[in-house]
C-alpha cells in the first residue's frame, strides 16, 4: 500500500513478450559475517495467463528472489544483478522503472504481513488507499465499496466490520487474506504471491486458489507463486522450479515434476508430505 504509482497505458511489449523475464538473477546479502549469495543465477519466464511456482526448503532463497526482482530489498543490504524485465521494462537497470510498474502492473503478496500493513491504521483505510493509489476508484465512497467487495471475494465474513478493525484485531488467516485483497486491488498484470495461503485451512485455501485462477482466466494475469506446499504447486502451476541453496535444482512441467521427480531432493520433498489415512464418509453426519 506504499510505493504504488500509476502505470502508463500498456504498450506493445506488454501484449507480445513475456510478462516477466528473469535472467541470471543473483542476490548477494551483506551480512556482519560477510557476503552471502542467497540467490545464485536464477532464470525463468512467465507469460500472460501462466502460473510459475517456486518450491523449495525453508531458507533456500524463494522470498529473496521475489524481493530482489521487485527491488524491495534495502540497498545497503543487497546487491542484485542479472536481467529482469516486467512487461518489457528493464527494472534492474533503471531505478525509477520499478516504481512505475508496482501496484498496477505487478503486485506482491508478501510473506510477512507487517511489511505491507501499518499497525496504527485500520484495515479499511489501508485497503482503500491501495485502491485509490492504483487508480481503481474515483472517490472514497467508491473505494470503500470496492474494499468490501474485495474482502468478500477472499471469503472474509462481515467485511464491513473487518474494515473498521486494526491489523492486530484480525486472525492470522484473515490478515493473510487482507494482503491478498490489497494485491488484487490494483488488478495487476503480474501477481507475485509469497506463501499466500500458508495460514489458511484447506477449505478457505481452495476458495482463494480458485479466486486467483478465476482472475487469471478473466484477465490473463501471470502468477509467480512461492509455496512450500507441493499439493498447491501441483494444482495451480504450469511450470515448477525447485529451489535449493539459491539455485534451481529441477525445473519442468508441473505434472512432470510432481509425478516423475528427477532429483532425489524433490523426491524427498514429496515423500515427507504427511498423508491422511482412509476415512468413512458414510458415517452419520451431525449438524455443525
Amino acid at each position: 500500500m506504499k510505493t504504488q504509482t500509476l502505470t502508463p497505458p500498456r504498450g506493445d511489449s506488454a501484449t507480445t513478450g513475456p510478462l516477466l523475464s528473469v535472467e541470471n538473477l543473483c542476490v548477494e546479502l551483506m551480512t556482519a559475517s560477510g557476503i552471502v549469495r542467497a540467490v545464485d543465477g536464477v532464470s525463468f519466464e512467465i507469460g500472460r495467463g501462466e502460473t510459475v511456482t517456486i518450491i523449495g526448503e525453508s531458507g533456500s532463497g524463494k522470498s529473496t528472489t521475489a524481493m530482489g526482482l521487485l527491488k524491495l530489498l534495502p540497498r545497503d543490504l543487497a546487491v542484485v544483478s542479472g536481467d529482469v524485465s516486467i512487461t518489457g521494462v528493464d527494472v534492474l537497470a533503471d531505478r525509477r522503472a520499478i516504481r512505475k510498474v508496482r501496484g498496477r502492473t505487478v503486485a506482491l503478496i508478501p510473506q510477512d504481513p507487517m511489511t505491507a500493513l501499518s499497525p496504527v491504521l485500520t484495515v479499511g483505510s489501508q485497503l482503500c488507499e491501495a485502491i485509490l493509489v492504483a487508480g481503481r476508484a474515483g472517490s472514497k465512497a467508491e473505494a470503500r465499496d470496492r474494499a468490501e467487495e474485495l474482502l468478500r471475494k477472499v471469503h472474509i465474513r462481515d467485511p464491513e466490520a473487518q474494515l473498521r478493525k486494526f491489523p492486530h484485531q484480525l486472525s492470522g488467516g484473515m490478515l493473510q487474506r487482507v494482503l491478498i485483497a490489497a494485491a488484487l486491488a490494483g488488478e495487476p498484470d503480474l501477481l507475485i504471491a509469497d506463501e499466500p495461503t500458508s495460514a489458511l485451512d484447506v477449505t478457505v485455501q481452495a476458495g482463494i486458489l480458485d479466486l486467483l485462477l478465476e482472475i487469471q482466466e478473466a484477465n490473463g494475469t501471470g502468477i509467480l507463486m512461492i509455496t512450500h506446499d507441493i499439493g498447491v504447486a501441483r494444482l495451480v502451476s504450469d511450470r515448477i522450479h525447485v529451489m535449493k541453496n539459491g539455485r534451481f535444482v529441477e525445473s519442468g512441467d508441473a505434472v512432470d515434476v510432481v509425478e516423475n521427480p528427477r532429483e532425489t531432493y524433490t523426491q524427498h520433498l514429496l515423500d515427507s508430505v504427511p498423508r491422511l489415512g482412509a476415512w468413512d464418509e458414510s458415517a452419520a453426519p451431525k449438524e455443525g
Binding site: 526448503e57 486472525s171 487474506r177 495460514a199 485451512d201 484447506v202 485462477l213 491422511l276 453426519p285
Partner: protein, 274 residues
C-alpha cells in the same frame, strides 16, 4: 483417576471493539492429560489463537477456568503468574512480530533461560547451540537478528525459544505452517522425542490435518468460537461427524491423490470428488 494436566472449562472471551464486545471464544471446555497432545482445528477466524492466548494468560478470559496441574490460572494476578510462566510456553502464529528485533537469535533463544536464572552463561550458550541444531538452524547464524532470517527460519527460532525453558506445557499456534515438509517432519519428530523424554504436554493448533494426525492424541474442532466436535484423533479423522470436519477431510490436498483433478476449478473438483 488423576486430574488432567490442563483443564479448560467454560472458557469465554469477549474482545472489546469500537462496535461493542465481540465474543471470540464461547463456552469452550476440554482437557489434556500429562504427556499427551491435543490438537485444535477449525476454519480461519474461529477462535483458535484466542483460546491459546487465554491459556497463556496473554489476555484475561471473560469467564471460565483454566487449570494447569491443579492451579487455576484464570484467577491469578500477573504477579502470581510470573513465577509460573516458564512452565507454560507458546510458539506464536506470527513468526515476524513475536521476535524482538533488537536481539540476536542467540539472545532471543537464551532469554527464557535467563529470566529463570537457571544456567551460567557458558551453559546457556551450549544449550542454545543444541536447540539451534535440533530445529535445523545453522550454527553460523547465532549472531544474526530475527529479520535476517527467512520466514521458516524465524518460525524455528520461535520454537527453539519456547523449548528453552523446558516447559511442562507448550502451546504451538500454527508452529510449522511456514516450514517445508522435510523441515516440518524434523520439527515434529523433535517435539515427539521431547515428549517421550520429559512428558511435556502439547496443545497443537494447526490447519494441516496430516500434521494433526501425526502428532495428536485427541482433537477439538472449533467453529465460530465454539467446539462443534471432539474426540480421539483416529476417531475424528476416520469418522468426522460435522459438515465442517467432513469438508476439511475432503479438501486435504494430497499431491499423490490429485492426478484426476483438473486445475482451475478446485472447489468444485473437491466437492465432486466427495
Amino acid at each position: 483417576m488423576s486430574e488432567p494436566f490442563l483443564a479448560v472449562e467454560g472458557l469465554t472471551l469477549d474482545y472489546s471493539t469500537k462496535a461493542g464486545p465481540f465474543r471470540a471464544v464461547d463456552d469452550v471446555s476440554f482437557s489434556v492429560d500429562k504427556g499427551r497432545t491435543l490438537a485444535i482445528v477449525g476454519e480461519s477466524g474461529c477462535g483458535k489463537s484466542s483460546v491459546a492466548k487465554c491459556i497463556m494468560r496473554l489476555v484475561a478470559p471473560t469467564a471460565g477456568r483454566i487449570s494447569l496441574d491443579g492451579t487455576d490460572l484464570a484467577g491469578l494476578k500477573e504477579a502470581q503468574l510470573r513465577p509460573l510462566r516458564h512452565r507454560f510456553q507458546m510458539v506464536f502464529q506470527d513468526p515476524y512480530g513475536s521476535l524482538d528485533p533488537h536481539l540476536s537469535a542467540q539472545e532471543i533463544v537464551a532469554e527464557p533461560m535467563k529470566t529463570q536464572g537457571l544456567r551460567s552463561k557458558a551453559e546457556r550458550s551450549k544449550e542454545v547451540a543444541r536447540l539451534f541444531d535440533a530445529v535445523g538452524l545453522p550454527s553460523t547464524s547465532l549472531e544474526r537478528r530475527a529479520h535476517e532470517f527467512s520466514g521458516g527460519q524465524r518460525q524455528r527460532i520461535g520454537i527453539a525459544r519456547a523449548l528453552a525453558s523446558k516447559p511442562d506445557l507448550l502451546v504451538c499456534d500454527e508452529a510449522t505452517s511456514a516450514l517445508d515438509v522435510s523441515v516440518q517432519a524434523q520439527v515434529l519428530r523433535l517435539l515427539q522425542d521431547i515428549q517421550q523424554e520429559t512428558g511435556i504436554t502439547y496443545v497443537f493448533i494447526s490447519h494441516n490435518l496430516g500434521v494433526v494426525q501425526e502428532i495428536s492424541d485427541s482433537i477439538v474442532v472449533m467453529r465460530r468460537g465454539e467446539i462443534v466436535e471432539s474426540g480421539a484423533t483416529a476417531d475424528v479423522l476416520q469418522t468426522p461427524r460435522t459438515d465442517y470436519a467432513r469438508t476439511l477431510r475432503r479438501a486435504a490436498l494430497d499431491p499423490s491423490a490429485m492426478t484426476g483433478i483438473k486445475p482451475r476449478h478446485i472447489v468444485s473438483a473437491l466437492a465432486a470428488s466427495a
